[in-house]
């Protein structure tokens, strides 16, 4: 087989492998596989002094963050399913064990592949945590001194940003207003007192909005047990129009609604936000920190799918509020990570980026096309070479044998014996 064929055939699986292995967020089996030997290598290191210990500590923290950020969405699910009992966190048990327990508890939420990834990740975290503990014992303070108070590195920031990005860290514009009974209301107090706030926008003459008020009242009672609340905003009552407030209260009492309904000024940020809505009813889910979680639910929540979407958002908001507590507890006990070394940054950026795989796929492609260059792959019978075509030879020896007349197709004026062919690279007059 010629070199060109081999080269081409070799390039194709290499290209395919690169594209598969490097596809950004999900295909990270390769990454966890490759980090395993690295982790093993790191855990095997025995630092000689406090500085090296601190360095190793930082590297291990870096690794842990990479494990989380490589499968952000999956780990989010795990955190959501985590037991909200903070007692488990502070009793000194290994974080990796805690994660493994949570994954086991929630194993029906994941597919077999996801479970494998998660378990592998949790196992690695367990190893890392073991090593970190032993480092702390040997060199107490190596975890806390170097980077406490330092700015958090790109990957942890990226991870938290990733967590928030999935909940779209858009904050609901803060406002001060009143409820329909005239009591003052402040957005910070309103949100921070509850793990989740379901904000429903409606108006008095909107039939679907009024129709779902009963369901919202029921939801309010359910959420009260979980530490959440429903808050209504009637867009007709913005600016405190007394007539509209009276109408709204009338409708609310007819429907048996007890949860708070508030209004604020229409030229405030929140007021403009409300005026930009054109679809009613619209429901936003807001977590304890005032961040909007996910996309708004447009339309009444009475249908099953909308209700399911709303429940998902509520759970996510509760988890977000919890997660901030969980992460803070853990990260408080460990130090913030120092900036990761540049090579790690480059590789992880390429692997996480969307155009990374494209770039990495370009290289084998270029090699393949280059392999087709004439100097690497000499022309064979019938091959087109530029605008010419290699004529069939009689044998590969390239002998020129006499023919009966000149060769019309290749304009050769040599007279050859009839019945023989010859080999010349010549411009064809008409090649179809």
């Amino acid at each position: 087989m010629k070199l060109s064929k081999i080269a081409a055939l070799f390039m194709v699986p290499v290209l395919a492998l690169c594209l598969v292995a490097c596809s950004a967020p999900s295909g990270n089996a390769s990454e966890s596989a490759s980090s395993d030997p690295k982790i093993a290598e790191l855990t095997a290191q025995k630092p000689a002094n406090a500085d090296e210990a601190a360095e190793l500590y930082a590297k291990l923290m870096q690794k842990e963050n990479e494990i989380f950020s490589s499968d952000n969405a999956l780990w989010e699910k795990v955190f959501n399913a985590a037991n909200k009992d903070s007692a488990m966190i502070e009793d000194g048990s290994n974080y990796g064990d805690f994660l493994l327990k949570t994954i086991d508890g929630a194993k029906d939420e994941f597919t077999a592949d996801e479970l494998k990834t998660l378990k592998a990740g949790a196992q690695q975290i367990k190893e890392i945590e073991d090593k970190l503990e032993s480092l702390e014992k040997e060199f107490p303070g190596c975890g806390s001194t170097p980077s406490s108070g330092e700015s958090v590195d790109a990957s942890t920031a990226g991870m938290t940003a990733g967590a928030n990005a999935s909940s779209e860290a858009t904050k609901f514009p803060s406002f001060t207003g009143k409820d329909l009974d005239g009591n003052d209301v402040n957005s910070d107090e309103l949100f921070s007192k509850n793990k989740v706030t379901v904000m429903n926008f409606w108006f008095t003459t909107c039939k679907p909005c009024v129709g779902e008020l009963g369901d919202l009242e029921k939801l309010n009672q359910e959420l009260a047990e979980k530490g959440g609340q429903v808050v209504g905003v009637n867009s007709f009552t913005l600016d405190g129009n007394k007539g509209e407030i009276a109408d709204a209260k009338d409708v609310l009492s007819k429907k048996g609604v007890t949860y708070k309904n508030i209004w604020f000024k229409s030229d405030s940020e929140a007021g403009k936000f409300t005026s930009n809505l054109f679809s009613f009813p619209t429901t936003y889910v807001i977590d304890q920190n005032g961040n909007i979680v996910g996309d708004p639910i447009v339309g009444a929540i009475s249908s099953a799918e909308q209700r399911a979407a709303l429940d998902k958002l509520i759970d996510q908001a509760i988890a977000n509020s919890e997660q901030q507590k969980t992460r803070k507890a853990w990260r408080g006990s460990r130090a913030a990570v120092r900036s990761s070394p540049l090579p790690f940054k480059i590789i992880s950026t390429i692997q996480r980026s969307r155009s990374g795989p494209l770039l990495l796929g370009v290289v084998p492609f270029v090699f393949w096309r280059a392999s087709l260059h004439s100097s690497l792959a000499p022309a064979k019978n019938g091959d087109r070479v530029g605008q010419t075509r290699r004529i069939r030879t009689a044998g590969e020896s390239g002998q020129v044998r006499p023919r009966g007349r000149g060769c019309r197709p290749c304009w050769s004026s040599k007279v050859f014996a009839k019945g023989t062919s010859h080999s010349r690279l010549r411009r064809w007059r008409s090649i179809t």
């Binding site: 003459t205 039939k207 249908s303």
Partner: protein, 300 residues
């Protein structure tokens, strides 16, 4: 050959397609909103447009008269809308079904669909179906939103909710494409309305303006006003040679010579273009007493 009269009528009839396109554009002027996934909510939306054009169309510059009527009448406070009905009566008297023929976007859509080549069927034998639109107007637009109410006294806009294909075409589909929240709210009702839209589209290819003839409540209202409208069609009895070409070419199945201001006539002007003796023309005005004009066909 006689000097050609009625040039204004001929010009109007010839440029009807352009006028329809311009009217559709003016009724839907806020084109960038298609990309934004929201609708225009400014002051223009308080005015009703003459044709059937959904309020929820991202580009819509005004409100749909049928939709506005239903939303006012369906609210718990009111049972009748003077503003919308008044606007409709005004347009009916000033223009009558000229709106249908020249200014309605959905009518234009149906005509464009009818131009798609294929087998075309005549609706001459389906005349009884034209009464369905009056039933739709009476029940879906006027009575049901008033009578079928919830515990707070609010009714649904029945025509908009269950029947109108223009709402799906102009409102639901563009908004669902650009707005994720609305996309996730689509359900069974959307499936039904989409089926209605597809049915109307298919029928429009086979028949001429089936929605205008058989279903449109706005067309029904303007049809009622057609006989008292200031804009009408005049057939000069002196010139008419009773060749029958006008009635043959009329796609709304109107006998032009006998009843040029029939409820079904959308003033498209095809009869004007085809009359060999130029007997037919548009006429506008109150001053059409019998003494001033020569005897016309519809006065007989």
């Amino acid at each position: 050959m006689d000097k050609r009269e009625n040039t204004a009528s001929h010009v109007l009839a010839r440029f009807r397609g352009f006028i329809q396109a311009a009217a559709t554009l003016i009724t839907n002027i806020h084109l960038p909103n298609f990309a934004k996934g929201g609708i225009y909510q400014g002051a223009g939306k308080t005015v009703c447009v003459p044709g059937l054009n959904c309020y929820s169309c991202p580009a819509a510059s005004g409100a749909c008269p049928i939709g506005s009527f239903q939303s006012v009448v369906g609210s718990s406070k009111f049972n009748f809308s003077y503003y919308v009905t008044g606007t409709l009566i005004l347009l009916g008297v000033l223009l009558g079904r000229f709106v249908c023929g020249f200014l309605c976007p959905f009518g234009w859509l149906q005509e464009l669909l009818h131009k798609i080549p294929g087998k075309k069927f005549s609706t001459k034998k389906l005349k009884p179906l034209t009464y369905i639109k009056y039933v739709v107007l009476l029940f879906a637009v006027v009575l049901l939103p008033v009578l079928v109410v919830n515990d707070v006294g609010m009714g649904d806009p029945f025509f908009c909710k269950y029947i109108c294909p223009q709402g799906v075409l102009e409102g639901a589909i563009p908004l669902a494409i650009a707005n994720a929240g609305i996309r996730s709210a689509l359900g069974q009702l959307f499936t039904w309305k989409l089926a209605v839209l597809i049915a109307v589209v298919v029928l429009s290819v086979l028949f001429y303006r089936p929605f205008c003839k058989w279903i449109c409540p706005l067309g029904a209202f303007y049809a009622l006003m057609n006989r008292v409208s200031l804009l009408g069609i005049r057939v000069d009895a002196c010139k008419c040679v009773s060749c029958g070409k006008c009635s043959k070419v009329c796609q709304m199945d109107v006998d032009v010579v006998r009843a040029p201001n029939h409820a079904e006539c959308i003033r498209c002007g095809k009869c004007i273009g085809v009359c060999p003796v130029d007997a037919i023309s548009y006429r506008y005005g109150l001053d059409v007493s019998a003494e001033k004009l020569p005897l016309t066909a519809d006065k007989k």
